[in-house]
């Protein structure tokens, strides 16, 4: 059985969903989402319980497609993230339908769910892509879908503005990606990363590095690294919240997996130190800017956007301290970090949606008095926020911990120092939420309404965060494949 059946399942599932969507009654559109979740569930099931059965042997696509542990992990990661994004969309559909076709029905929301599947298929392919061409195509599948997801609320100016900004800057970064690929191709005569790796020498280093720099620009855009981070705050704030969550988690993760694929041959070559240097610069700048710019924020969604920039910086750190040896590898650390980041960030976005539905606001001030309005939710929020800040005994700690450990072992002193400044600043801005929840009183003392679905999901994620905080080993089981 060929392993790209997984992508095909998701892709065909998406098309089928589009068909179903066309014939389903406006009140029933949410069933599209459930069907989508079901399809993704099948894919996930196949991935985890039948992965031994997949192979890429003797297939035409082997040149473009890898099925290693990294790919398996990120495919699973993408599917889980998409499922959670769909669940989040279900919670968010009131707002969504308000700004689409007909506010009272759920007429315009159906396509929204389908799009996630296409994006998911693209990302799954990205996890396996090992040729610049397939990387480009998979990336664009995801990106173009994301444009629609961002600008989906066509009666909401913020969403449209975000869509346009994303579109222009995204297309700009695509231009750099293609141009970079062209130069690498020019220098090596191939787009196969494995073959490129063999041809990296000091002699053709200028062309190669020029091409690589252009590709890195594009990938930095994708993961939200400074100085290509500019779109993130605006787009995250304007986009529908499920899109924001999807972008900040799944999209960022696929950006990193591609980055790993692209830079791996360079880092293992004699140009390794140069590439590591530029990565270290990116990491340090990203951490510093992401964390410091988050301090004055008053909108929680925008805060999460800056936090997502900051996290990109933390993830870049282990890459800059490249280690492919048999101890803790950089790839493992990145995967580990992202796995934990997924749990925490989705929990945070679920909480945000709950708060938004109750107060109609994304501001930090909307959290005021939560400690009294819903103590359980407040407690869980506190734990999640603590995890995002990186408190020990929460899962969030371990990601940062491993990243720092890697960087310290690799001797990246400047990024490490900046990183610690960033974490300290992180405490400052994350704890503002806790302060709002517990130390401030809201004018509205009515209890917060929360759907059982959200409550359960947040509870499960919180429990996972705590358990992994004490016992992080299970993440390795997933990462190790």
């Amino acid at each position: 059985m060929s392993s790209y059946l997984l992508e095909i399942i998701v892709l065909i599932g998406g098309l089928v969903l589009l068909l179903i969507e066309a014939f389903i009654s406006p009140k029933q559109k949410f069933k599209v989402a459930y069907t989508g979740i079901f399809i993704l569930g099948i894919a996930l099931f196949c991935l985890f319980f039948a992965k031994k059965g997949f192979s890429t042997e003797n297939t035409e696509l082997t040149r473009f497609y890898a099925f290693d542990s990294l790919a398996v992990f990120f495919k699973g990661f993408t599917i889980v993230a998409t499922i959670l994004a769909l669940l989040l969309s279900l919670e968010y559909r009131k707002t969504l339908s308000k700004f689409t076709a007909n506010p009272d029905s759920e007429d315009g929301t159906g396509e929204y769910y389908c799009l996630f599947l296409f994006a998911c298929a693209g990302m799954m392919w990205m996890a396996s892509a090992k040729d610049l061409v397939s990387i480009f195509v998979a990336l664009e599948l995801t990106t173009i879908t994301s444009y629609i997801l961002v600008g989906f609320m066509r009666r909401n100016v913020g969403s449209l503005e975000a869509g346009v900004k994303f579109l222009i800057l995204g297309a700009l970064s695509t231009g750099f990606l293609v141009y970079g690929i062209a130069w690498i191709y020019g220098a090596t005569g191939t787009t196969d990363l494995a073959l490129i790796g063999d041809q990296i020498t000091e002699k053709n280093s200028t062309y190669l590095l020029f091409g690589l720099a252009l590709i890195l620009i594009s990938l930095a855009f994708k993961v939200g690294a400074v100085p290509m981070h500019l779109w993130i705050p605006d787009v995250y704030q304007g986009a529908p919240t499920p899109t924001t969550a999807f972008l900040s988690i799944a999209s960022k993760a696929s950006g990193f997996v591609i980055m790993i694929r692209v830079i791996e041959p360079f880092l293992d070559s004699e140009l390794g130190s140069k590439v590591a240097f530029i990565l270290a610069v990116l990491a340090g700048a990203t951490i510093l800017l992401g964390n410091l710019a988050a301090i004055p924020q008053t909108n929680f969604k925008r805060l999460l956007a800056y936090s997502s920039i900051a996290n990109a910086g933390f993830i870049l750190m282990p890459l800059a301290a490249w280690n492919a040896g048999n101890d803790l590898t950089s790839k493992e650390v990145v995967a580990f970090y992202l796995a934990i980041y997924l749990i925490m960030t989705f929990a945070a976005f679920f909480i945000l949606v709950v708060i938004h539905r109750n107060t109609g606001s994304d501001d930090i001030s909307a959290f005021e008095g939560l400690g009294q309005r819903h103590p359980v939710l407040a407690l869980m929020t506190a734990i999640i926020i603590g995890a995002l800040a990186g408190l020990p005994l929460t899962a969030g700690f371990w990601g940062k911990f491993l990243a720092f450990k890697m960087a310290v072992t690799g001797g990246l002193w400047v990024p490490v120092v900046l990183g610690f400044i960033g974490v300290a600043a992180g405490f400052y801005y994350y704890f503002q939420i806790i302060r709002a929840m517990y130390w401030r009183n809201s004018l509205d003392e009515s209890p917060i309404k929360i759907s059982p679905l959200s409550l359960n999901i947040i509870a499960v994620l919180t429990v996972i965060v705590v358990i992994l905080g004490i016992w992080p080993q299970p993440v390795y089981w997933l990462v190790g494949g």
């Binding site: 061409v133 480009f136 195509v137 664009e140 173009i144 444009y147 629609i148 600008g151 066509r154 009666r155 100016v157 913020g158 449209l160 503005e161 975000a162 869509g163 346009v164 900004k165 579109l167 222009i168 297309a171 700009l172 695509t174 231009g175 293609v178 141009y179 690929i181 062209a182 130069w183 191709y185 020019g186 005569g189 191939t190 787009t191 705050p233 605006d234 704030q237 304007g238 004055p296 924020q297 925008r302």
Partner: protein, 105 residues
Amino acid sequence: MASLNEFLFVSGLLFAIGLAGVIIRRNIIVIFMCLELMLAAASLTLVAFSRFHIHNGLPDYNGQVFVFFIITVAAAEVAVGLAIIVALYRARQTINVEDLTSMRG
């Protein structure tokens, strides 16, 4: 016949013009056209490399095939992009980028 360097120079120039257009122009449609120009520049680079990369007496067609992918993707991008721009125009009655500053900071 022109040398590789000349092709690369032209394509680089095109790319730079595209980038400059993105930076300078205020009309989103024009910006979008400039972006397409950048993609075209990249395509030209690829074709040039492909043409001058001789394998067994034949050019390496991998690069030229890639250009088709690029064109396809660009088309899809334009389709989606124009749809968003139209939606924006319907909502705001403007396609000037300077009016899109409701989110900042």
